[in-house]
């Protein structure tokens, strides 16, 4: 587990107004292992806690065990060992399922039934009125094609129906496995808006995705899983911090004098000259102080900006081929 300092709790672009119960977790996995017949260990001693009301991004490379974990949360797959608790209930029980909506892997529906009939069928199982089907269809913008057979839907329409099915029960917890898969740009934006409105309603979302930019925009917490183990957990900023503080890009004249001046600063770890500018490995919070030092030393500062690590860089660092999967997978992220 990467030691991730608890810096901020929210993605930069979203407000933190949602009520988060401090000791209440919508999802708790304790030492969960899933070994499939044939010997593949898809999930390996996983500990994961998703706070109530959070939009939690679940990241990991292909085959990391995200889908398997999600299947265990709704009782489709049983863990080989360990304890799973969802909304305080064991998965797969009527009381738990009634409060959980899930879209896991690809949307699965009856091909000969129309979109609305597929949802009505699900509504019958769920014990919710048929009207919920129409409402869910409207929510994902499928009303116009509600009466066409599912097999005639395009990829993105199928995906939208999958999201509608997950919304059918107005659940407290949504489990969405790559929900933007196949969506057009408008659909992706609508999904982002939907996730925000779900958060405003105080619902919890567990979202897996390979589109890191999306995750960064909507998730307030992120867990990274690799080879079945949690390798990092925290806010997007926490994860970026895995790579260190980041760096500063400084345009200065004369360059030699600036390099000498900066190398003398105790908090600066390295100074390189790249394309006539200085790349300074140091916390971006030092920007003002370094600027003053340079000016006092008689150096003209023409440009100065922080270079933040992207979530993608952090992800690749955390899940790269030579990344050891660390044994201690306790949650070290933000304290809520």
């Amino acid at each position: 587990m990467h030691e991730i300092p608890s810096t901020s709790q929210c993605a930069p672009s979203i407000d933190c107004g949602s009520p988060l119960g401090n000791d209440r977790f919508a999802i708790e996995l304790h030492e969960v292992t899933k070994r499939y017949p044939g010997g593949i260990t898809a999930v390996d001693d996983l500990d994961l806690r998703v706070p109530q009301g959070a939009v939690f991004g679940f990241l990991g490379p292909n085959g990391a065990g995200k889908t398997t974990t999600m299947r265990m949360l709704v009782g489709l797959v049983r863990p080989t060992s360990g304890r799973v608790s969802v909304l305080g209930q064991p998965p797969g029980t009527p009381r738990q399922l009634a409060r959980v909506g899930a879209l896991i892997e690809s949307p699965t529906f009856y091909p000969h039934l129309s979109g609305v009939d597929n949802l009505r069928l699900a509504a019958r199982y769920a014990g919710v009125p048929d009207a919920a089907a129409d409402r869910a269809l409207a929510e994902v913008g499928l009303t116009g094609r509600a009466r066409s057979a599912f097999r005639t839907y395009s990829l993105g329409m199928k995906q939208r129906l999958g999201v509608a099915a997950a919304l059918l029960k107005e659940p407290d917890l949504l489990i969405l496995d790559e929900p933007t898969n196949g969506l057009d740009p408008a659909g992706v934006a609508e999904m982002r808006e939907l996730l925000r409105s779900l958060r405003r309603d105080g619902r919890t979302v567990l979202l897996s995705s390979h589109v890191l930019g999306e995750v960064e925009q909507v998730c307030d917490r992120i867990g990274v899983i690799n080879r079945g183990r949690l390798v990092a957990e925290g806010s997007p900023d926490d994860l970026r911090a895995v790579l260190g503080d980041g760096s500063l890009l400084i345009g200065a004249d004369p360059v030699d004098q600036a390099v000498a001046c900066l190398r003398g600063h105790p908090a600066v770890r390295a100074v390189e000259v790249v394309d006539g500018r200085l790349r300074v490995t140091a916390s971006p919070t030092l920007a003002a102080e370094l600027n003053r030092r340079l000016v006092e030393a008689g150096v003209d500062v023409t440009e100065l900006r922080p270079v933040r690590h992207s979530l993608e860089e952090a992800f690749l660092e955390l899940t790269g081929p030579d990344q050891p999967v660390l044994a201690d997978a306790t949650t070290t992220g933000g304290t809520r």
């Binding site: 009527p94 892997e105 009856y110």
Partner: protein, 280 residues
């Protein structure tokens, strides 16, 4: 549980394959149970030497013999078709991956599968009733055309025949249901189910005629038990000029018990398997 039955029935009744199978079966029953014998009767009718055979064939397609003619169709032909029906209604859930959808709504998994089983029982009842209704209609028309009295068997006998047909169909459907779950596939279940009932069981049943120790085994098999139940209701066996699959039998109790056993055990195993196994 009621929600699961309602939902399964909703899915089944909107499935074109279900109605294709049901209507195909009804058409086959009419063609082979009534159409062919009646055509043969018409061909023989002009020949004085064949008068007895012609008269017997005509009797068989009149309403009076509705029970024996109808029930005789079920053991071999009906059973095979209904194995397909049972495999279809649950096997396609695996093909389409829809177990993901229906197992995550609310009811427990065993309830969902049990709902499917109950809906399948409703379908087989419909199929049995529909078959006898169609046969009754067509035989009545023939009686009127031939100038005979269109008198149906007593309601009690008709009800017994429908119940027996229902039991035979449900037992076969339950086999298809279990096989589809076991193999997670419609096609494999249909192939295995048909080879089992049509080939394997009939081979054992035939061998039992010469190897008497096999009789005990035969009495516990699905297709021969169905044949014995039809025989007990008066259907004539193949050796007696009747329908293939029908066996002579004076007693309905044993075949009824065996068929009920099949229904309970195969549905039970199917429900247990789906509740236990991982989905995905």
């Amino acid at each position: 549980m009621i929600a699961s039955v309602r939902a399964a029935w909703f899915a089944d009744r909107k499935r074109p394959a279900v109605w294709t199978v049901t209507l195909t079966w009804t058409a086959l029953a009419l063609v082979f149970g009534i159409g062919v014998p009646y055509l043969v009767h018409l061909t023989l009718a002009g020949d004085p030497e064949q008068a007895d055979a012609a008269a017997s064939l005509l009797d068989g397609v009149l309403p009076g013999q509705l029970v024996t003619t109808g029930i005789g169709l079920f053991p071999l032909f009906g059973g095979a078709i209904v194995v397909i029906l049972g495999a279809l209604v649950v096997g396609n859930e695996y093909r389409w991956g829809t177990l993901n959808l229906i197992f995550t709504q609310r009811p427990r998994r065993w309830q969902v599968t049990a709902g499917h089983a109950v809906a399948l029982c409703v379908l087989t009842l419909l199929l049995a009733v529909l078959t006898f209704a169609a046969l009754a209609a067509v035989t009545t028309v023939i009686a009127l055309v031939e100038g005979r009295a269109p008198s149906l068997p007593s309601p009690g006998r008709l009800a017994a025949a429908v119940a027996a047909a229902w039991l035979i169909c449900t037992a076969h459907a339950a086999l298809g249901f279990l096989l589809a779950i076991a193999f997670r596939s419609t096609a494999t279940a249909i192939a295995v189910g048909l080879v089992w009932t049509l080939v394997l069981e009939n081979a054992v049943s035939g061998l039992a005629l010469v190897l008497s120790p096999l009789t005990a085994v035969r009495n516990l098999l699905l297709a021969p038990s169905s044949g014995a139940l039809a025989g007990a209701l008066g259907a004539r066996s193949q050796f007696d000029g009747g329908t293939p699959g029908v066996l002579e039998s004076g007693n309905a109790a044993l075949p009824v018990a065996v068929l009920l056993g099949y229904v309970l055990v195969t549905f039970g195993l199917g429900i247990w398997l789906t509740a236990r196994r991982d989905v995905g």
